[in-house]
Subunit: 289 residues, 4 copies
């Protein structure tokens, strides 16, 4: 037990801590400087750099479960034991909480100066959106839900293919920056509606922090108790993206000619391939664009 | 037949779906937030990330035909059978259509809020340009045509060289991000006139979607039936770029010293080299800048 | 002695000179053009490119000690002899000073035109911030200190893991751009409060230059003698980040199965591993996200 | 003769044509859209993408002489025969001229709409700066000269080290994007004064085109016949940067332990090493930051 706690908590915690530290700091910097020291794009980019750094920091130890939605998808794929899912998620949540506290400490003066000391969720001087995500005013609940499902689905679909040797594998040592670019793409294209949390821990951790740090219960009650959307929708989206990957890509790949000696990079071993195998098409493969 | 349909439709469809999903979502985000959640550059970057992700997703299966103009060029080069061109293009078109529908679903509230519920092609609250491309007001028809020819030509010229082992090959595993950067470059430099479609499927798919989703026939009739330009010009530009590549680069490369054992990366085998071969110039090659 | 001076001074000097030349020039360009020829993000990016270029220039010779805070951390890790710390730092300082002088020469006309010939530290036409860093007006001293500690800690934590073969190593030849991206991330997320110096030499060198070039003693006395913060806090932060890396990552890594033949890439040899070793967890490693 | 003409003209021409096509198109797009379809940073990035694409297109054939200043430096280093310098430069000039003409054709409508049909060098509607570079109003002649010398020196210093195996070599297949990032860095930090031509061909080719296309002789006479600065200063800067590289880096590198079998990547063979050799410092090299 202690061993699992130690090996699980530490790096998972650190992973989300690192992502959150880069991302929320950038959000604080852009917000409190009223966009004079960065812009919306900076925040997207900083989250992306955080993902890259966090993956280099912990991928060798933990397998770099980006977030609870990704961990759940790996449970569904049979690559992670179900019993580990809850401690993983709690560690990820703890990391996000700690990072939020650190960002608050570092940007305390700036936040106080910006908000005039009044920590609110609404209005031009709101600062809650530095930490957790909130929907745009025009959003309906169902639309928010769809937005999170699609965003997380895109994430899973795009990262699952990177290690597949029978497709176009990315170089193993460069997977962190490539995943970072994908995250950047998603946050540039899917954050218009409700901030592209696509990660329950990334959203709940900071929200709990703002609850305890003085923003009040409004962080949970605002927008008609909207807070549950980025908790529930991303896991659903992640699993749906995983199945889409299996259906549209994985099951069309040819059987491996030679046994893979680096099983860490292949998903296929753990999954029964029910469908007909894909006929290798030489002319198709002879062109590579 | 069924086999070809399955192997062709699925990944091609997915490829364009992925590109379109990133790109059009970013366009929707930037447009409906009135550039507060991103800017013109974000849209370019999101399309570029979409291309990278789509290539990692499907390149191993399909050879990653970026778009019908690229597929046609490969037919001309003799690398793809002519009979496959039409089903490829239809799949690409279908993918673009499906992605547009998904973007519309996700950004429905935002689009309604931005446009006041009035889906138009002209005016400050127009939303049609989120999906398909439209020319600037000052453009003449011939100029639009030239713009698309030049843009697609640049694309083909720049991507054909990446896999050539006798020149400066890009690492095979990193071709997706490099192609993505080239697409980014083209959309930063060639979208001033009419939006750098350089892809018939990327333009017609969303345009058909907007026709069916409430923008009306104006999406086709506007700007004096301009819609045919991004359908006709990119294939012509792609083929011209291919021939420029053959004339200026390919035929100047030295004969391969050793037979290539990875024929997938070389174009030269399928083409007769009519011109005189290029004399290898040791001093020249000894400097590499 | 002469030999050490030559081998130490030249590349260290050059390293900081290169970083500063890119970064401060970009700051001068953005400032004097009143953000018409670039923006806050450009300055961040230019510093980042400077780090990449400087690492390619000198890493093979010096081991690319990014800054005195990093050098101190390596002394603490036992990888650099303590006696070399002072000459290293002085060389880094000299490089930053020389680069500032060069930037001043190149942008002299622009600075004079922008400031009206009045070189000041405060006010809308201040130009001192092109060279050294200054805090935002609302910052307290303690908060500035924390800001620098956290920023430098993030830097050390993120770069120490890049070469660790038992974790997820970055490709050795691509470490310069990856470190550059990390520096970009830190300057996008941690420069809101006081400019993310995270480097005593990068801050003191230019500050000394501005003292001698006509900005007067105000560059040291302003903001209640704030100048000592970026001198004292980054080394503390760097050492703290190093220990966090050791505690949370390094000591959890498995014992190396085979003896490393490339000891340059591993930190572990020089450190006794007091804690219990980490049990390799096959299921965890079998998934890599 | 014919053979040299063919091998020299074609790829050199194409190289500069490609760079110019990306860069000047982006400048046209940003300028004529009054920064609504891009910004200053887009132009920098497009030039950078152009450099990358051009290097992948032609580096295998020509050694990718970026510009006449770089070619001259290679002559000085003894790697290129002096007799080839003039045809190289003329080809580079021709490529830049042709690309400018193509950009003019593609953006003709936009330029006419923006300028009201009046092609001028001065004023708010000037369009000459789309093609060639012009100094800021406050610049003195000597300062412009220094600016170009420093910019080109930085370029040479930063790119010469990339292929040196005894230092930190960049991966040969990824040198094009790395050089592109360096060019991006220089254009973000050194274009405030007079546009960072750092390339005689890139400046004279478009200037000749604007002379012939209707901007009149003012493109040469304006700013007191300023046009000679980007012709004369970059070669001087390039040679100075090369010597700085030799003095500060190359002569400090250790003697190669084993004979290089890939002489294309090493500069050292062609240069006598007069100075004392550098003593390899094991502790230094054991840390790699």
């Amino acid at each position: 037990i202690r061993r699992i706690l130690r090996t699980v908590c530490t790096p998972y915690c650190l992973f989300n801590c690192c992502v959150q530290l880069f991302g929320c700091s950038a959000a604080a910097q852009v917000k409190t400087s009223r966009e004079t020291k960065g812009q919306f794009l900076s925040v997207n980019m900083a989250f992306s750099v955080g993902v890259m750094s966090a993956m280099y920091l912990t991928k060798g130890i933990t397998g770099a479960h980006l977030n609870p939605a990704v961990s759940l998808s790996f449970c569904v794929l049979g690559q992670v034991q179900w019993g580990r899912l809850v401690p993983y998620c709690l560690s990820q949540l703890l990391g996000a909480y700690v990072a939020s506290a650190l960002v608050y400490l570092v940007y305390y003066d700036a936040i106080m100066d910006f908000s005039g000391g009044d920590l609110t969720v609404y209005g031009p001087n709101e600062t809650a959106s530095i930490f957790a995500t909130y929907p745009s005013e025009y959003m309906t609940l169902g639309r928010s839900f769809l937005d999170q499902v699609v965003g997380t689905g895109m994430l899973m679909l795009c990262i699952l293919c990177l290690g597949e040797k029978r497709n176009t594998p990315a170089p193993a040592e460069l997977i962190p920056p490539i995943v970072a670019v994908i995250v950047l793409g998603i946050s540039m294209s899917m954050s218009g509606n409700c901030g592209a949390a696509i990660n329950p821990a990334r959203d709940l951790g900071p929200r709990l922090f703002t609850l305890t740090a003085g923003w009040g219960t409004e962080v949970f009650t605002c927008y008609d108790y909207w807070f549950w959307v980025p908790l529930v929708a991303p896991p659903i989206g992640g699993v749906m993206g995983t199945f889409m990957y299996l259906i549209f890509i994985e099951w069309h790949l040819p059987d491996p000619d030679q046994p893979d000696n680096d099983s860490a990079l292949s998903i296929s071993e753990t999954i029964k391939q029910p469908g007909p195998t894909w006929e290798k098409d030489v002319e198709l493969k002879s062109s590579h664009f």
